[in-house]
């Protein structure tokens, strides 16, 4: 359980050309209702723009929503960019959207802290964000 006063800061992002924003907006509201601070990037961002923004905003968690099937190349690019940073950012990265099971394992191996699907219950989303934000907030 987190004991600090400040609310958890979460950035939710849409990367690439994918316009499916129903889920990410529901998650944004769910997290806000759970007392978190939520920043939503809007649509059609590049991996570079989103990482920059997440560092600038000093978030605890970066959630990337993808329903276009492009999650593998996009997360590969994200972690490649992170590897090139002088200092590894402290935020945890989670993925949300439509992702086949075998890709979930690969994303986890890459460093994605949690993968949430369209059938993940809102309470579970809140719990998972709390869990994955804990180490980031210690840092």
């Amino acid at each position: 359980m987190d004991t600090r006063e400040e609310p958890i800061r979460v950035m939710l992002a849409k990367i690439g050309l994918d316009g499916h924003d129903r889920g990410v907006k529901v998650v944004a509201r769910t997290l806000r209702d759970a007392g978190m601070e939520v920043i939503y990037t809007g649509l059609h961002r590049s991996p570079e723009q989103v990482l920059d923004a997440a560092v600038q905003e000093d978030v605890d968690v970066l959630g990337v929503s993808l329903l276009s099937g492009a999650h593998m190349p996009i997360f590969t690019r994200i972690f490649h960019l992170i590897d090139g940073m002088p200092e590894r950012p402290r935020f945890a990265i989670i993925a949300g959207g439509v992702m086949p099971d075998e890709d979930v394992d690969a994303l986890t191996a890459m460093g994605v802290a949690a993968v949430l699907g369209q059938d993940t219950a809102p309470d579970t989303v809140v719990e998972r964000i709390r869990d994955v934000s804990a180490p980031a907030r210690e840092a």
Binding site: G16, V26, M72, D119
Partner: protein, 567 residues
């Protein structure tokens, strides 16, 4: 009492008898029964939240026979044609598209061999957004969710060995629709087809993009001009082609309920028609070619009522607001697709059943064409096996259930008639709100539709989370243990690189003078709002300019669009 009394669906005497019977029944049968066996919930509502009664009687139907009428006759409540599925069953139109044009061409030929009667093309995200496969934003998207089209040779490969005079082709494409239409025309001209014999559709419904699906290139105003240009071009050159397919489907998938889906779609329709009429087009010259696209959701009776309500509303709007004279201008024809967002990843075989029931409501509602989703929709784009089952679902409904024999079989149901009236009135209520905001474009700019949709999506998610909205396999009847495995479509990992290299080859091999000249002509046409963009675009694609080159150059003329998200 006027002469109109002879048109009443329920004569006053019958309505009174029903009211009396209902009162005595509530006292004699119902009350005691309820004490012994309470109902499962306090109130019952349709999928879009309309409260529903326990049972419907003639007392609930205060309508007029003229509002119901007969199929193929104004106000078309019961269907656009007098024989409906007796004359011809709906077009079974499974959407397909992935990888390079050759791969999709192969899937099309498979579907035609399985008895599919119309083609429907899904494009990849870069094509949908008007970008080339080698654009930085296209990373990971090339050929992923649909087929990749950059230049005319891709389009030629897509239709290889398919007779375009014989099969109708629907293209799900929006901000870049006019370029795909230009490529389609170019292929047809190369092959010597008669443009007036080609039948098909481009979605080209840009307003709902700003509202729901979120694919855009230019700001609203130049985008509307492009839509207008395609309508004008088709009215003159392509007698059987549908230049706009006004779509509620994406509005629904983005979270809207059935009421919002039809209300917003009709508001958008009104904006297109008003815009075309304002430029001097005669409403009857283009309205018969407008076509529609709706979802077929989970609430079976509400969906049937929705299709009936929107047909009637449209007929009245075209006649009364726009003064259409030709009945074909008042006759709403629609494609339906089952609701992808209702399909679940857990217990994927259940999705076959969901899809079958949703398809049934589309058929009972009088759809002209239908796409049934694959059972693997919640995983990825459909496998061949999943598409075959989905197509067989339609064939079973058409050939085994007998529902095609009688037109609008639920017409006259006290419940369905009442719900049809309610949903039609609901459209009018939304129209009042939208007018107050200053019309559709102003409402988009103020985020009105977006907020309404986002509220409904959130409400639905909460109901699902609380269990108030059961989803079998997800919040009820959950399987413990190992998840069912299904076979899914595998994207060819080399496809993206092949497509990018073909694009480069086409650019290298084209006549640079012709390409340069075509680009100049295109820019000249774009800068002149009274010019039609289509002829210059047709020449541009024939000169092998790529989609990204065309949209890139026009961005400098038209500008770009950025959304301020509301949630």
């Amino acid at each position: 009492m006027t002469d109109d009394s002879r048109y009443r669906l329920a004569a006053p005497e019958l309505a009174q008898t029903a009211t009396d019977d209902l009162a005595s029944w509530a006292n004699d049968e119902l009350a005691g029964f309820l004490t012994r066996r309470p109902e499962s919930r306090d109130e019952y509502r349709t999928g879009s939240g309309v409260p529903v009664e326990r049972v419907y009687t003639p007392a609930h139907v205060d309508g007029d026979w003229r509002d119901v009428g007969l199929p193929g006759r104004y106000p078309f409540t019961r269907g656009p044609y007098p024989t409906m599925y007796r004359g011809r069953t709906w077009t079974m139109r499974q959407i397909a598209g992935f990888g390079q044009a050759e791969e999709t061409n192969e899937r099309f030929r498979y579907l035609i061999a399985q008895g599919q009667t119309g083609l429907s093309i899904d494009f990849d995200m870069p094509t949908l957004m008007g970008l080339d496969s080698d654009d930085a934003m296209s990373l990971g998207e090339v050929g992923r969710e649909g087929v990749a089209i950059d230049t005319l040779p891709d389009m030629e490969a897509l239709f290889d060995d398919i007779d375009l005079e014989q099969i109708s082709v629907s293209m799900t494409i929006n901000p870049s629709a006019w370029i795909l239409l230009a490529m389609y025309v170019a292929v047809a001209e190369e092959r010597g087809y008669d443009l007036d014999k080609l039948s098909g559709t481009i979605q080209n419904d840009i307003l709902k993009e700003y509202v729901a699906q979120k694919e855009w290139i230019f700001p609203v105003e130049p985008s509307m001009r492009i839509v207008r240009d395609t309508i004008g071009y088709c009215a003159e050159n392509m007698a059987r082609y549908n230049p706009v397919n006004i779509s509620g489907y994406h509005i629904s998938e983005a979270g809207a309920n059935a009421q919002q889906e039809i209300a917003f779609t009709m508001a958008i329709t009104k904006a297109y028609v008003a815009d075309a009429v304002a430029t001097g087009l005669d409403v009857d010259s283009f309205a018969p070619r407008l076509s529609f696209f709706f979802v077929s959701q989970a609430d079976l009776f509400e969906e049937v009522a929705k299709f009936r309500a929107v047909r009637r509303f449209y007929a009245r709007m075209m006649k009364e607001t726009f003064g259409a004279q030709d009945p074909a201008s008042m006759r709403l024809r629609f494609h339906a697709q089952t609701a992808a967002a209702t399909l679940t990843k857990p217990q994927p075989m259940n999705n076959i059943v969901r899809t079958a029931l949703q398809a049934l409501s589309a058929v009972l509602g009088g759809a002209q064409s239908l796409h049934t989703n694959g059972l693997d929709e919640a995983y990825t784009i459909p496998s061949e096996q999943a598409m075959k089952i989905a197509l067989r679902t339609q064939q079973i409904i058409a050939d085994e259930t007998g529902v095609t024999s009688v037109i609008d079989p639920l017409g006259g149901s006290y419940y369905v008639e009442r719900l049809t009236d309610t949903l039609e009135e609901g459209i009018a209520d939304y129209f009042t709100k939208i007018e107050e905001l200053g019309g559709v474009v102003a409402a988009i700019e103020q985020g009105f539709f977006q907020r309404e949709i986002s509220d409904s999506a959130y409400e639905f998610a909460r109901r699902k989370a609380s269990g108030d909205r059961p989803v079998i396999g997800v919040n009820k009847q959950i399987d413990a243990g190992q998840a069912e495995k299904i076979e899914t479509h595998e994207l060819d990992p080399e496809s993206e690189a092949r497509q990018i290299s073909r694009l480069k080859q086409v650019r290298d091999a084209r006549d640079p003078e012709r390409a340069k000249h075509a680009m100049e002509q295109l820019l000249t046409a774009a800068a002149d709002p009274s010019a039609n963009l289509m002829p210059a675009t047709i020449e541009a694609v024939k000169a092998h300019l790529s989609m990204g080159e065309i949209t890139g150059a026009l961005r400098d003329v038209f500008g770009t669009y950025t959304e301020t998200p509301v949630f």
